[in-house]
Amino acid sequence: MSSERRTNDFLVGASVIIVTVVLIVTVLWVQQTDLGGKTRHVVVRTRDVGGVALGNPVVIRGVRAGQVEGIALGGRGWVVLKLAIDRGVSLPADPVVLLIAASLFGEWQVNVTDEKGLPPDRELRAALVEAHTTGDTLAGAVLPDIAQLTSVAGRIAGDVAKVSDRVQVAFDDKAAKELRESIRNFAQLSAELAKTVQAQSKNLDLISTDVRQGLQSVNAAADNLTRFSSRVDSSTSRGELQQIVSNSQSAARELMQATSALRKITDDVNGTQAKLSSAVSRADSVFTKMNSGQGTLGRMINDPRLYQNSDSLVSELRALVADVKKNPRRYINVRVF
């Protein structure tokens, strides 16, 4: 084998090998292929994947954390996505997966978030609940992409166009004439209003003067309030308020003592009241008996003869006293020896 031929062989072989290796390495680098096992896999199930394709980024709180590594049809109408997530990345608590359009230009991404990060969309939440499993498989759902939103916007625009057509129909020549007349009337009205305003401008000046004075009064009151506040501040700073508080505390303490004494008196009064009640009931019994003529006192109260006898006794006693006064020797004999 000649040296030239050997050189040819080497050059061609080296060129082919180097270019092939560089191309393969470049493709793997661009595709971010995991050669060193630096990723872990997460399985997601969803009803639809929207526009998500292999290699689309997986994003957690806006930061790229991996990529979509597999998409396959599952059983019972599910689609199963296999996400390759960097090993150093920890998923949120109770993670759910949203498949969303990343821009207007057909890029999609897989957003791993938690319950708080979900948009307030009832259908979306229902889809996530439906896709939820008890195992390690995450629940996923597709957010409406820009195309759907624009189609909705297109429908809204169509409705607006219909409304504007109806307005156009309603706004015919007659309506235009009436509108023109209304504008003319409004112009007259505004002119009269201007005249009135001009006439009332003096009143307005007076009112504004009063308002100014009122404002000055308010300012003075505000100044007084400020001074009062400063006094309160100064009294607070001199300790008067502290003294008032301490006096209040001692007064409250004495009030508590008085309250306890009053409570004791009240207890005594309660006992006295019980005794009084008993005495009253007994007296009531005595009076009842007296009224019924029982006993000596009852007879005395209820029998008129006692009164009559007593009265005659008093009369006789009075006559006796008079007789004694008149004839003392008749009754009194003083003898010595």
Partner: protein, 280 residues
């Protein structure tokens, strides 16, 4: 009356001869127009048959691979450098205001990998390789070296054509692969240096829609371009006649046909592989 009868019969006999002549002329034109296709197809079949004679073409393979492939790397790199730069600027100029800046990376990667690296490099190599082969073999033909080889029982197909065709088929993808790498790299550098695009943005654009199919598609196209250019050049060289003038004429013809064939094959592969296919 007899004279009249003779003239009528002569007229009757003349009419079929004109029709036959016209039909014959039409057939001849059709045959001549498609005979090139038939001869080319027969040539390809002969080349395929000649590949069995490995002892004839194998020693010559690396020589031609070096000449046609390794020797073409500088021109491929040169073309790719400027293609990448121009593409980055074009992308920014065309859609820079309506798409995010990272789409410069997407456009450069997609365009270079799928289309420009294979086609521009193929066209450049059609001029260099096709003309080289056609002129070399044409000169051998007009100087009767090929006749001498046949006299010495060497099969010109296996000794001259097969190593060139195989070398071109194998080395065109190598040159195009290098052109892809250089084109994207030069676009990257142009985006960083001349546009307000950062490296992460450019790489995001490159990665966001990249699929390895892009590279495979470009390399397969390049291989088909290499085979076509080498076959056309070899056939043009082997059919050369008329001295130096004939060599020049056939070399030119080889370049023109190769360039056209590259575009035809480009459309063919696009129809075959890209119809109904999307990025998803």
């Amino acid at each position: 009356m007899a004279l009249v009868g003779v003239s009528v019969s002569a007229a009757r006999s003349a009419k079929p001869s004109r029709v036959v002549h016209a039909v014959t002329a039409l057939g001849q034109g059709v045959r001549e127009s498609i005979s090139g296709v038939g001869q080319g197809a027969r040539f390809v079949v002969d080349v395929i048959r000649a590949t069995r004679d490995t002892s004839s073409w194998m020693p010559m393979f690396t020589l031609h691979a070096r000449t046609l492939g390794v020797g073409s790397l500088p021109i491929g790199i040169f073309i790719a450098i400027f293609t990448g730069i121009v593409l980055a600027l074009l992308a920014s100029y065309s859609v820079g205001d309506i798409v995010p800046p990272y789409f410069v990376g997407t456009l450069v990667q997609k365009t270079v990998t799928l289309e420009l690296a294979p086609v521009l490099t193929g066209l450049a190599l059609a001029g260099r390789v096709g003309a080289n082969i056609a002129a070399e073999l044409g000169t051998m033909r007009v100087t009767e070296q090929i006749d001498a080889l046949e006299t010495l029982t060497f099969d010109p197909m296996s000794y001259l054509v097969v190593p060139r065709v195989l070398a071109a088929t194998m080395m065109f993808p190598v040159v195009v692969g290098v052109a892809m790498l250089v084109g994207v790299t030069s676009g990257w550098l142009a985006a960083i240096g001349l546009l307000d695009v950062t490296t992460p943005q450019f790489l995001k654009g490159v990665r966001i829609f990249f699929v390895d199919f892009d590279v495979r598609y470009g390399l397969v196209k390049a291989a088909s371009f290499g085979a076509a250019v080498a076959l056309i050049g070899c056939r043009a060289g082997l059919t050369t006649s008329g001295g130096a003038q004939g060599v020049g004429r056939n070399a030119t013809r080889a370049v023109v046909i190769s360039a056209v064939m590259i575009l035809v094959l480009d459309a063919f592969w696009a129809v075959v592989w890209l119809t109904g296919r999307t990025l998803r």
